[in-house]
């Protein structure tokens, strides 16, 4: 407790000095997502000493946790109470106990296989404590599910890649782990898989995750025992052994699945791994490369050598956006460029939180 308070004091001091000297800071936890976003060179500001769960009441479905706490540590505490982070944040990196911090989980807003059904990181953020660019320690939101007092700054922090401030603590909604889970797989072309995912999404079945790659559609059901059994019969396909299924979904979640391993290997040959976020109903995209589909069709991973402009255009005309997740970054940044009206708000928001522009400059967009 005292250690964490002292650590927060040190961070506030570091921010104050950096703001005064206008020197850039690079906020880091375990560094497992350092590849994500645009590269930057700046003085590191470590959140690792901000460690520990400050409040957890399982019957409130809320946990408050300091930003430097390993996700892995948080998850094991939740698991003891039969609860979990239903958005299934990816745990990257090779060391299990250094597979990402809570701060990085919120700041990157990456969600796993359960996202389409359960919601994203930001849907589970209830409150936060943040150090802004004026070295002020501010609290927004709270520890309750329903809260409309003031602007929802804490959810704005989700996915902000640290450009607005240093997260020091967050409160998250947690959920009971589903009673029953089953996984089935079946053969399907990409178009068939997309059609089925969308059709099933309109049924009151407990589908908690979907994935398609190389002609195989895999579906996870989670919920009440009877409902899972019933839906499994309706879906058909071949039941996957529980252990094998768990390993598959974890591999997908933590980007250790063979798709990601293969993609990683192809980066050196000049290909890029893209994440395309599109309406679930989009037909197979007219792009070359190897595709893996998740989120009922709404998230499409693509490993391709197609030109940046082409990928972005296809994503945009489909009603979505594309980002270079891994691989050679485009000159104008890895994320899809914003329309002028949004760019202006982004610049003004950045200045409102970080007037000296010290936090993670360029990480989200080159001019922020």
């Amino acid at each position: 407790m005292q250690d964490a308070d002292a650590a927060l004091d040190r961070i506030v001091q570091q921010v104050r000095e950096a703001a005064h000297a206008r020197t850039a800071l690079q906020i880091c936890g375990h560094g497992t997502k350092a590849f994500y976003g645009n590269a930057q060179e700046a003085t590191p500001l470590s959140t690792e000493d901000l460690r520990g769960i400050t409040a957890y009441e399982p019957s409130e479905l809320v946990v408050s946790v300091r930003a430097g706490t390993p996700v892995h540590e948080l998850e094991s505490v939740l698991a003891q109470q039969g609860q979990w982070l239903a958005f299934e944040p990816p745990r990257l990196g090779s060391a299990p106990d250094r597979s990402g911090t809570v701060g990085g989980m919120v700041a990157s807003a990456l969600s796993g296989p359960g996202r389409a059904q359960a919601g994203s990181v930001r849907d589970f953020v209830l409150g936060c404590t943040v150090v802004n660019g004026r070295a002020q320690v501010l609290h927004f939101g709270g520890q309750v599910m329903k809260n409309v007092a003031g602007y929802d700054v804490s959810r704005l922090m989700a996915g902000s890649l640290g450009i607005l401030g240093v997260l020091s603590e967050v409160s998250l909604k947690v959920l009971p782990h589903p009673v029953a889970t089953a996984t089935v797989r079946m053969s399907a072309s990409q178009a068939e898989a997309l059609e089925r995912m969308n059709a099933w999404g309109g049924q009151p079945w407990p589908i908690s995750a979907t994935a398609w790659w190389e002609g195989t559609l895999v579906v996870r059901l989670s919920g009440a025992q009877a409902a899972v059994q019933d839906a499994q019969e309706r879906l058909g396909g071949e039941a996957v052994d529980a252990q094998l299924a768990q390993a598959f979904w974890q591999g997908l979640r933590d980007h250790r699945d063979e798709y990601f391993v293969a993609a990683q290997a192809r980066l050196s040959q000049g290909e890029r791994l893209w994440r395309l976020s599109v309406p679930s109903t989009c037909l197979p995209l007219d792009l070359p490369g190897d595709t893996l589909i998740e989120w009922g069709g709404a998230q499409r991973w693509l490993c391709t050598d197609a030109p940046v402009q082409r990928v972005r255009e296809v994503a945009q005309s489909a009603g979505g956006h594309a980002c270079v997740f891994r691989g050679d970054p485009p000159a104008d940044g890895v994320f899809a460029p914003l329309p002028a009206a949004l760019q202006k708000i982004h610049r003004q928001l950045k200045a409102a939180f970080d007037p000296e522009g010290i936090f993670n400059p360029g990480r989200l967009y080159p001019d922020l």
Binding site: A116, N147, A149, A224, I345, A352, F353
Partner: protein, 505 residues
């Protein structure tokens, strides 16, 4: 509050530096150039109907009311107002309970009532794209032929609009399981204060850049004007059943709520009523509520028949183990609706037993439920007024209805003190001053208690990032430093107020 009154001092928020307003004649003649004659109101008899929203105690006639019929007219009105420095207050159905749509004396009320078209229902992608003035319930009605619906269901859903829901981040009785407006909106389209077109979010599950959608939802019309909304539709559960359980002790009822959640159940609805409220609603709807109970819980399960059977059985086990004194499970849809009829009619039922009532809206951690109800019972004695309580127990959102007679100025004064006391007690218990009704003008003072000056300044800076001239719905949501100074409160977080016995108005 439903006590009609002329302009109320508590609602006035003088900005730290008062701008010079352009003359009304100049504003009206400029608006005449961009709107047809029938879409612009400025005479007193025409603007009076817009002087308040659902919070009728605070009233203010606007300089003019604009009723645009197209997005290009909205854009033009915003551009005129921005050029002249005139405040703009967007308005939906006017059902809000915190005065969020209360007009500005020198401003234009932008009524979006004519934006009432359902643009597209996509049954395959499970989305509905609608104009902002479409009523909440109308979306579910339009989606019903495909077995889909829009989940958030605020009690006012037959009248309130989706644009208003976006502004307030509205909840309802099912949000523990299905989320708030924020969790069910994919994108909004509209304009900035300058009249620049804006689209936030999309049909995809996320968008590039900062998640601006999540801060615009719930911003009470202070960051942008929304004209079109794309929402998620979800499959309508084939079955819903409800348990009605009585407890002869408030604390036991509170424990039962915690026990249900601790058992790993997320009920579709989990509501509580206390004894005074049970008496008021039973007298009104005759639903067969247990008049001997100190508290009644309504626990709903929805889903496939198998799911519901399993969940109802598990909830029944928990409630019995927690010592409920009576338990009834709805046998059919008619009986389920009957169980709900009292809860849904809590407000009109209160209106029958008291000339006026003030509805509060704080949220507390669930475990403090009994504590706050006991604290409210003590406040009833302190302020000499009665209070009946309904509670979205599943998500900790409390609606105490303070009963009073607005014709008695002293009762109104005591009622306001009572209300402020409930909000501050909620903050002390780790909660918040508003769960779903919004800050508006009603809870500006309470914001001084919940947030530090630096936090409020950061929120003001956030607003200025969207609206540098601060013209959208000015004076709401975030109190000025001056106002908080006048309110005379020390900032409190998790501690006790200094001199809690002193009246502070």
């Amino acid at each position: 509050m439903n006590a009609p009154q002329e302009w109320h001092a508590a609602a006035a928020q003088v900005p730290d530096s008062a701008p010079a307003w352009p003359p009304a004649s100049e504003v009206i003649s400029a608006l005449k150039t961009v709107l047809p004659a029938h879409a612009l109101l400025w005479s007193h008899e025409d603007t009076t109907p817009y002087e308040c929203d659902g919070l009728t105690a605070y009233r203010q006639r606007p300089l003019a009311v604009a009723l645009p019929e197209s997005e290009s007219q909205v854009e033009a009105v915003l551009k005129v107002c921005h050029r002249l420095g005139v405040p703009v207050v967007a308005r939906g159905a006017g059902t809000g309970l915190s005065g969020g749509a209360m007009p500005h004396a020198h401003g234009v009320t932008l009524s979006l009532a004519k934006f009432n078209r359902i643009i597209d229902i996509d049954p395959v992608g499970r989305t509905a794209t609608v104009q902002c003035g479409v009523r909440n319930l109308a979306i579910s009605e339009a989606a019903a032929p495909w077995g889909l619906y829009y989940a958030p269901d605020p009690s006012s859903q037959i009248a309130c609009t989706i644009g208003g829901n976006v502004a307030e981040n509205s909840g309802g009785v099912h949000c523990l399981k299905y989320g708030l407006t924020l969790h069910n909106v994919l994108s909004v389209r509209g304009f900035t204060a300058e009249g620049e077109p804006l689209q936030l979010g999309g049909r995809s599950l996320d968008a590039a850049g900062l998640d601006l959608l999540s801060v615009v939802v719930g911003s009470e019309g202070m960051l942008a004007v929304v004209t079109e909304v794309c929402v998620k539709l979800i499959p309508k559960p084939p079955v819903a059943r409800c348990i009605m359980a009585s407890f002869d002790d408030i604390r036991m009822a509170g424990n039962a709520v915690a026990a249900i959640i601790a058992a790993g159940i997320i009920p579709a609805g989990l509501e509580m009523m206390d004894k005074p409220m049970i008496a008021a609603v039973e007298d009104f709807v005759h639903a067969g509520y247990d008049l001997n109970a100190q508290a009644i819980l309504l626990c709903e399960s929805d889903g496939t028949p198998q799911e519901v059977t399993e969940e109802i059985w598990r909830m029944q086990e928990v409630l019995t183990a927690q010592g409920c004194t009576r338990l009834e499970i709805s046998k059919d849809e008619a009986q389920r609706l009957k169980f709900w009829s009292g809860r849904k009619n809590a407000f009109p039922a209160s209106g029958r037993i008291s000339p006026d009532y003030m509805c509060m809206d704080s949220t507390i951690p669930r475990k403090r439920l009994a504590d706050i109800l006991l604290a409210i019972a003590q406040m009833e004695e302190r302020y000499g007024l009665r209070c009946a309580n309904v509670f979205h127990a599943g998500d900790g959102n409390l609606h105490p209805l303070i009963l009073f007679d607005a014709n008695d100025p002293d009762q109104l004064r005591r009622c306001e003190l009572f209300g402020a006391d409930i909000l501050e007690t909620s903050v002390q218990m780790g909660g918040t001053v508003t769960g779903e009704h919004g800050v508006g003008v009603e809870k500006l003072n309470s914001m001084c208690v919940q947030f530090s000056p630096e936090e409020r300044e950061q929120m003001m800076a956030l607003k200025a990032a969207f609206d540098p001239k601060r013209l959208l719905n000015p004076g709401k949501v975030v109190p000025t430093l001056q106002r908080c100074a006048e309110y005379g409160k020390m900032h409190v977080r998790g501690g006790l107020l200094p001199h809690p016995q002193l009246p502070r108005f």
